[in-house]
């Protein structure tokens, strides 16, 4: 098993390297550069800027210089925001996105798993219908629509919650619902179908035949196995939620990391594009890895060798 995880770790590093390489190449292939702005810069100024940030070096040299910096944990300076580094962006933005995301994950897990169990246990009854209706709405309506609706109802009409910012605990309510809405719905559906499938298996029939009480059958025997597909999805979801969402952060004016994913691309802020991509990729790979470890703990049938 140790060998297996060592191999996985090696593959992760290779994947990471490929992600860096591909992002780097695509980014430089797109026309325009960090210094294309609405006001024309004279050629001298552009040359000075390029020299300052070593953008006049050949691309392979830039790439390896960047890698070298990465190995020292240095994501480089932002080309667009003078005096700031990508490390600053991550150090300032990630705690904010992470806190919002963390609360959202708790909300997602606490809401979706009971919803899914309820729907599966009451399969075909009205409880099932209600849960699935809510879940369908959550999956189909885009988050910016949900956000606008929530702001309209709870802060504009009722004046009960702030329309922006995370200045008090009240500020978290709307962003958490918006951010978690999709995941709650998706995971609830996943939980329901997975639990239904497990409930049809032989060992559940055996358990019931032994005369076990229904709650014990569900929570002790079925749930554990039914959680595996849910945890598979939960891994990437956690990475997604913790690194921030562009839409939610923009609408609720949350100073997180998510805004950088989109803005850095349209501004061609090369180092920021690279930095947030590498950061997110590492996070995602780590989560997938952790999920694999979890499999072993939950389902004794899964063995790695």
């Amino acid at each position: 098993m140790v060998r297996y995880f060592a191999k996985r770790l090696g593959l992760m590093l290779i994947a990471l390297f490929l992600i860096i390489l591909v992002t780097f190449v695509i980014m430089h292939a797109v026309p325009g550069g960090p210094f294309t702005s609405d006001r024309n810069l004279s050629e001298e100024v552009e040359a000075a800027l390029n020299a300052k940030y070593h953008l006049d070096d050949p691309l392979p040299k830039q790439f390896f210089d960047y890698l070298k910096g990465l190995l020292h944990g240095d994501f480089g300076p932002s080309y667009k925001f003078t005096g700031k580094t990508v490390n600053d962006f991550i150090a300032n933005g990630f705690p904010v996105s992470g806190k919002l995301g963390g609360i959202t994950i708790i909300f997602v897990v606490l809401a979706s798993i009971p919803m899914g169990i309820l729907a599966a246990v009451k399969n075909g009854k009205w409880q099932d219908m209600v849960v699935m209706a809510v879940a369908t709405i959550g999956v189909t309506i885009p988050s910016f629509v949900i956000a606008s609706m929530l702001i309209y109802i709870f802060s504009f009409r009722m004046g009960a919650l702030p329309s922006f910012g995370l200045d008090s605990w009240k500020g978290y309510i709307l962003p958490v619902i918006t951010l978690g809405g999709y995941s709650v719905s998706y995971l609830a559906r996943q939980m329901r179908s997975s639990l239904l499938e497990v409930m049809g298996q032989d060992y559940i029939r055996t358990a019931r035949a032994k005369g076990l009480a229904e709650p014990k059958v569900i929570f002790k025997h079925a749930l554990r196995n039914a959680l595996i597909p849910v945890i598979t999805v939960l891994g990437p979801t956690v990475a997604n939620l913790l690194t921030g969402s562009f839409v939610v952060e923009k609408i609720f004016a949350v100073p997180g990391l998510g805004v950088h994913f989109v803005n850095s691309v349209s501004m061609r802020d090369y180092t920021t594009i690279m930095g947030v991509t590498v950061f997110y990729a590492t996070f995602l790979l780590a989560m997938v890895f952790i999920v694999d470890v979890f499999y072993c703990l939950i389902d004794p049938r899964i063995k790695y060798d």
């Binding site: 797109v30 026309p31 325009g32 550069g33 294309t36 702005s37 609405d38 006001r39 024309n40 810069l41 004279s42 050629e43 001298e44 100024v45 000075a48 800027l49 020299a51 300052k52 667009k80 925001f81 003078t82 005096g83 700031k84 600053d88 300032n92 933005g93 606008s148 702001i151 309209y152 802060s155 504009f156 004046g159 702030p162 329309s163 922006f164 910012g165 923009k250 609408i251 609720f252 004016a253 100073p255 997180g256 805004v259 349209s266 501004m267 061609r268």
Partner: protein, 557 residues
């Protein structure tokens, strides 16, 4: 204006009263109705309220270093945390700032500015003419990568040579004669140099903090040292910046506002909701579709004409657009009123020339009484077809499909699609629209790789010379690749004309000459709108969209 004057008077009266030790603390609080009429009571109402306000910004600047940026999103910081030699008043006129007076030699090549007594930085240290010299040197050092370097190097003697490494620092024509006297020597006579030094690239920056912190001096409140009416006391990246009154500002006694919080809300709809909920006191950017409603509701829309034009570049270097008749036809076929009121729903005036109103000579705007070049606010399909026929394309036959490009932006997209429709309907030609994000789009436009492209121009400084180069042969900003030696000659003349009246005449002449040639598709002149609650007084915005808070007061809510 009158009201403001009385308010100021009342305020100074109140200050005297307090100083004399007979402040009216024990008087009864006034009702709002009393405040309306009685100016003295109005001032009292002010003193009662906390002098604090929150203003929403919708875009983040690349940096708030005046020597580096040319980004207009930085102006809320630059013009309120710094002050140059001259500044603007509420009427939009240049008035003394750090300099109390200035003069020039006869041929307008040497300008001498006299600084006020006792100028200080926000950390309390002395500010001298040498700080101005240091700032200019910083701008002219290639390592700084100053985006506005041309605004100095194009005018000041040896500045360009220094930038290129051909001359030494002491050769540059910016000298501190003594601690309070600053002298600029220019390459050639420049009648608008005082307008130019109002730009932030001419602002002073403090050597001590920059030497200690490098590029990072703008990233923490402690090291961001300025000389304006306010100083930053807290920086929360991407969230909020807190500005407080700078007690070391030379005119601090006339600054009433104690605390100004800039809050970043990048989504303009959220910002508007926050404003309407009363969570904030002002907003920098209003969603354009809401402007009409907010104005009707008297919600506090403050409008200032902006010295800028929204237009489409027509590539004058490629066929068939090199023919003025074709460009005339394209211009005639546009219903500008519909674009402004129905399509873009912006606050604007129809434009027939690239040159915007906003520059005044002898009390008259240069564009007053200007020709409309045969255009009108609505489309004229007959005349448009005629012009196209004269160019050799009767009923649009044989005219190639127009490639209309624009950059990704909702409003720009709406306009582009409307223009396509107008041209297809009124001229019988085919139009293909395409969009790309700004960086890609602009790259193409600069390289002449387009036919007709969405564009706009906001003047960097309030003088026609910030517009005229747009059509000057081979100028770096001339993206329509228009070339007319007669026009170039008039611009050259205007550049060195000392007499303001004659200068104005030349500008008019140049504008009339070139606009009759339809080098661009002018659409409308912009205005800037911000939202401010009615209990905030004295905030003003110049035509270059700089917002000044130094006279701001918060009345009783």
């Amino acid at each position: 204006m009158k009201k403001r004057l009385s308010l100021l008077l009342a305020l100074s009266m109140m200050c005297t009263a307090v100083l004399a030790g007979c402040g009216g603390k024990d008087q009864e609080p006034q009702t709002i109705d009393d405040v309306q009429e009685n100016t003295e009571e109005e001032a009292k109402g002010e003193a009662a309220g906390a002098q604090e306000m929150t203003f929403v910004l919708s875009n983040e600047p690349d940096t708030i270093d005046p020597t580096v940026t040319n980004n207009s999103f930085a102006t809320p910081f630059l013009v309120n945390c710094f002050e140059g030699l001259v500044t603007y008043n509420e009427a939009g006129e240049v008035v003394p700032g750090n300099a109390e007076s200035w003069e020039s030699n006869d041929d307008l090549t040497v300008y001498t500015f006299h600084l006020r007594d006792g100028l200080k930085w926000s950390d309390g240290s002395d500010l001298t003419a040498n700080d101005y010299v240091y700032a200019a040197l910083r701008v002219l050092t290639p390592d700084t990568a100053a985006q506005y370097v041309n605004m100095i190097s194009d005018y000041v003697v040896n500045a360009e040579e220094f930038y290129n490494g051909e001359k030494k620092a002491e050769d540059i024509g910016i000298k501190a004669v003594d601690d309070q006297t600053l002298e600029f020597t220019l390459k050639e006579s420049c009648p608008f140099f005082v307008d130019l030094v109002s730009m932030w690239v001419y602002f002073p920056v403090q050597e001590a903090t920059i030497e200690a912190n490098g590029d990072k001096w703008t990233t923490s409140a402690e090291s961001y040292i300025g000389n304006g009416p306010f100083k930053v006391t807290e920086m929360k990246e991407k969230e909020s910046f807190t500005l407080e009154k700078n007690e070391n500002y030379w005119d601090a006694e006339n600054v009433t506002l104690e605390k100004l919080t800039y809050r970043y809300i990048l989504d303009v709809a959220t910002a508007l909701t926050a404003y309407e909920n009363g969570e904030v006191d002002g907003v920098r950017t209003i969603p354009s579709s809401d402007i009409a409603r907010l104005k009707a509701d008297n919600a506090g829309v403050y409008t200032a004409p902006s010295y800028g034009t929204v237009y489409y570049d027509i590539n004058c270097s490629v066929e068939p657009y090199d023919d003025p008749l074709v460009r005339k036809a394209l211009n005639l076929a546009i219903d500008r009123e519909a674009l402004i009121n129905n399509v873009a729903q912006v606050d604007g005036e129809p434009a027939y020339s690239f040159y915007a109103p906003g520059y005044v000579v002898d009390g008259k705007d240069l564009t007053e009484g200007r020709s409309e070049f045969g255009l009108s606010s609505t489309a004229d399909p007959e005349a448009a077809k005629q012009a196209l026929a004269d160019a050799g394309f009767p009923d649009g036959e044989g005219f190639p499909t127009v490639q209309l490009s624009f950059y990704s932006d909702d409003n720009v997209k709406k306009i582009a699609e409307a223009i396509k429709e107008m041209w297809e309907q009124n001229l019988g030609i085919k139009v293909e629209v395409s969009s790309a994000d700004w960086a890609v789009f602009y790259d193409d436009v600069q390289n002449g790789n387009y036919e007709v492209a969405a564009m706009g121009w906001s003047a960097d400084y309030v003088n026609p010379m910030s517009f005229l180069p747009l059509l000057y042969t081979d100028d770096v900003t001339n993206n329509s690749f228009y070339s007319n030696p007669d026009y170039d000659a008039i611009v050259d003349q205007a550049k060195v004309e000392k007499d303001p009246a004659k200068f104005g005449e030349l500008v008019k002449q140049a504008d009339e000459l070139v606009s009759a040639d339809y080098p661009v598709l002018a659409l409308y002149y912009k205005s800037n709108n911000i939202l401010l609650k009615d209990y905030v007084e004295g905030v003003y915005m110049t035509s270059s969209s700089n917002i000044y808070f130094k006279n701001a007061k918060v009345l009783e809510k």
